[in-house]
């Protein structure tokens, strides 16, 4: 049963309700009662005269989604925090505070998250002026250290933080007793950029959100724009998108596998997985003309068609890759040291994973059978057959097995695309100036790292009023702290690696 | 030979002096290693190479590491190494000086042998035989004691309620 919050239908067919701030906690509690167990996305919006916070919630068992719109009172810009109901609200609320200046009453640790603590102003507000002074005179944030505590600073320059991630670990001996993650070193303002470029101009940017799964990012962006303008995409294009994104998933998982083993101290798999990843990059180079920032998926379809020669190459790659996968498994899967390092380490129980907004392989390895490709189908996925891999061990081993299985499934999908590629155009007729009607839409794809969503608000012009990126790495990183508790420093690195974060996407 | 003796004396007594005088306990520990190695050198000089090697293995290799471990686990920057009362300085210093004077003057009076008997060719084998024939009872007692010490140290150093 749905609690009655005054639902209406939005432009994207999602039930939505407008709530005053004081009714938000009870409304969300009622929704939780009704089975809504997942906070998908928490976005701040500046409507011009007032701020707004938008909550997307999901019922994973019954596949229902709703959106809640809360207008922030303009006298005192504060809304109740949801952190006591959804831990997933923690960082997103900090982000809204950081970028919009909206305060959340009851938030345990309301600090800036993406921008330095000394930053002045809130840059996603429409009244923010770029030529205002940006930062207060530099001050070093205090270490939360009592004299007898041992805090060790890991990152942002550290071999195993996978980029400019920084975490402060509180150690007792080598046991981790606490963790304070710090992010934002790679914040490049992609959400603000979307308000200054028109829809077509913005197309190359998603490549840079998560540069290891650029195709999947493109898919999320163009998908959202297409849904907003209600554009029909040719079937051939949808198939090409599956081809590109699934190959990209394999490439991304390969990189994860190599670096994860490197985190565990095994150096060779890294070089092996890069060999196969390189071949996929070459295929992408043929397909799109670029190795990293493809700009291949365009609004209305794909930039180029698949040539028969390239199809032949991809077809030849698949059996080769299966052999290599078997090789990896022979090297890694039964290795006693590997198993000792990954079994029972970094446990994330399913309810905790859902509550903290985890998604993708991290969520599935915690035993939650959820995959957007199957459960919120988009593109050509309803016409293709594939298995969703899950694991019930909740640990690092499960995450390894899930990603390995996903690589196999992605290959199966690629094979099906090659077999059943429909004839027709690879791109719809799209006007030179893309001008979707005013409206809101949330579109999400299953990226290699999890649910990559784009919450897009159009105002009828040729550029977005607001584009919010629901970054899976950002959300998954919130599960780091509970997983670390009580493990050793070496495990902390492995657990961090198992989440598969990408700082470009965490910080955006 | 006299040169070797001189170098070893320098190392041993210098090391011991360093242990006493160093203001940092970690430095003391490394000076202690120097003294241990010097003493091991004397053993080699005296033809007791087995004892010398054991001295290095146990003292420099194990005991010193234990010391360093203990220092690192219990160190507080504020802990003073010195800071005794002047009376104690005088008392202990005087007593030590007196003892040294007594020992050294007595040592000088006695006509000590200067000639080392030729070292036994099978020194190590002799030690082994001695250990297991005339000294077998003390040997076994020591081994039991070592076991007791091992268990005791483990129990003492164990954290309450958890293995460590």
């Amino acid at each position: 049963m749905m609690p009655d919050l005054g639902w209406e239908r939005g432009s994207d067919d999602l039930p939505r309700a407008h709530l005053p701030p004081e009714r938000l906690p009870s409304g969300v509690a009622a929704l939780r009662q009704a089975g809504f167990d997942y906070l998908i996305c928490l976005s701040g919006v500046d409507r011009g005269e007032a701020r707004q916070v938008v909550y997307h919630l999901r019922d994973t068992a019954r596949h229902r989604e709703v959106a809640l719109y809360v207008d922030v009172p303009s006298r005192r810009e504060e809304v109740p925090s949801l952190t006591d109901q959804f831990r997933a609200a923690d960082w997103p609320e900090r982000e809204v505070y950081d970028l919009f200046g909206v305060r959340f009453a009851g938030h345990p640790d309301l600090r800036r998250i993406l921008l330095p603590e000394t930053f002045l102003g809130h840059p996603l507000r429409k009244d923010y002026r770029e030529d205002d002074p940006e930062v207060a005179p530099e001050g070093e944030p205090e270490l939360p250290a009592a004299p007898d505590e041992m805090w060790i600073n890991v990152g942002p320059q550290h071999p195993s933080t996978h980029g400019v991630f920084r975490m402060l670990l509180k150690l007792s001996g080598e046991t981790v007793e606490g963790c304070r993650p710090c992010i934002g070193y790679l914040h490049r303002g992609f959400e603000k950029l979307a308000e200054r470029r028109d829809y077509v101009q913005y197309q190359p940017y998603p490549d840079r959100w998560d540069y290891l799964a650029a195709m999947n990012n493109e898919h999320a962006y163009v998908g959202a724009v297409e849904r907003l303008m209600q554009l029909e995409v040719p079937r051939r294009a949808e198939y090409l998108r599956v081809l590109a994104t699934e190959l990209n998933r394999v490439a991304s998982h390969l990189l994860w596998l190599g670096t994860f083993l490197l985190d565990l101290g095994a150096m060779s798999p890294f070089l092996y997985t890069f060999r196969e990843r390189e071949m996929i990059m070459e295929l992408f180079n043929e397909l799109s003309g670029a190795r990293m920032t493809y700009n291949y998926l365009r609004i209305g379809g794909a930039a180029h068609d698949l040539t028969p020669e390239l199809a032949r190459q991809i077809r030849a790659f698949l059996p080769y890759f299966h052999r290599r996968l078997a090789e990896y498994e022979a090297l890694i899967s039964d290795n006693e040291i590997f198993l000792a390092r990954v079994r029972g380490v970094g446990l994330l129980p399913p309810d905790e994973a859902l509550n903290r907004g985890a998604s993708g392989p991290l969520l599935r390895a915690s035993g939650v059978d959820w995959d957007l490709r199957r459960d919120r189908p988009y593109g050509a996925y309803p016409e293709l057959s594939f298995q969703v891999a899950t694991a019930s061990t909740w640990d690092l081993h499960g995450r390894y097995l899930v990603r390995l299985a996903e690589m196999r499934e992605s290959c199966r999908l690629v094979e099906q695309v090659l077999d059943g590629l429909p004839e027709g155009p690879h791109r719809a007729k799209v006007p030179v100036r893309v001008r979707p009607p005013a409206g809101d839409t949330y579109f999400a794809v299953e990226s290699p790292r999890g649910e990559l969503g784009v919450f897009l608000i159009g105002d009828g012009t040729d550029h977005a009023w607001r584009l919010k990126i629901r970054a899976p790495s950002f959300m998954n990183l919130m599960s780091l702290e509970p997983m670390l508790q009580g493990h050793l420093a070496a495990d902390a690195i492995a657990i961090l690696g198992s989440i598969d974060i990408l700082l470009g996407e965490v910080d955006r | 030979m006299p040169e070797a003796f001189g170098i070893l004396t320098l190392a041993t007594l210098g090391g011991a002096l360093g242990v006493v005088l160093a203001t940092d306990v970690v430095h003391s520990a490394y000076f202690l290693v120097l003294a241990f190695l010097g003493v091991a050198g004397y053993y080699f000089l005296l033809g007791g190479e087995f004892v010398g090697a054991v001295q290095i293995l146990i003292y420099a290799g194990a005991v010193a590491v234990l010391f360093l471990f203990a220092v690192m686990l219990t160190r507080r920057r504020a802990d003073p190494v010195w800071g005794r009362s002047p009376a104690r300085w005088l008392g202990v210093g005087g007593a030590a000086a007196l003892l040294a004077w007594l020992l050294l003057t007595h040592l000088e009076r006695h006509p000590w042998p200067t000639k080392l008997p030729p070292p036994a060719p099978h020194n190590t084998a002799l030690i082994g035989k001695a250990l297991f024939r005339p000294f077998v009872v003390p040997f076994e007692v020591v081994s039991v004691l070592l076991l007791a010490a091992l268990v005791g140290a483990l129990l003492l150093a164990r954290k309450e309620g958890g293995a460590s």
């Binding site: - | 006493v20 087995f50 194990a62 005991v63 220092v71 010195w82 000088e108």
Partner: protein, 100 residues
């Protein structure tokens, strides 16, 4: 050629220095180090006597002393560690009571 007396003199020096350190240092670890120095002095004498008398028993004694010293250090430092855990100090003056 150094005589037996020279070795004994070094032993005496080592002993006196060890004694001085053991009595004057304030940290328990340093006190233990002084004691080790004294044990080494005794050992040096034992081995020197054994060598100059041409008999083996001095060396055997030295071996026993080394074994005992190792045990003593292990237990001593373990006691120190547990004291440190309960009192957070290794200063000798603060830990002169048998009962806490």
């Amino acid at each position: 050629m150094p005589s037996l007396g020279d070795f004994l003199a070094v032993g005496a020096g080592l002993f006196v220095l060890g004694l001085f350190g053991a009595l004057m240092k304030r940290t328990a670890v340093a006190v233990l180090m002084g004691i080790e120095l004294m044990l080494n002095a005794a050992n040096l004498n034992l081995v020197a006597f054994a060598a100059f008398s041409g008999r083996i028993s001095g060396q055997i004694f030295a071996l026993f002393v080394i074994a005992l010293a190792a045990a003593e250090v292990a237990v001593g430092l373990a006691i120190l560690l547990s004291l440190f855990r309960s009192r957070a100090t290794v200063r000798m003056d603060d830990i002169d009571l048998l009962k806490g």
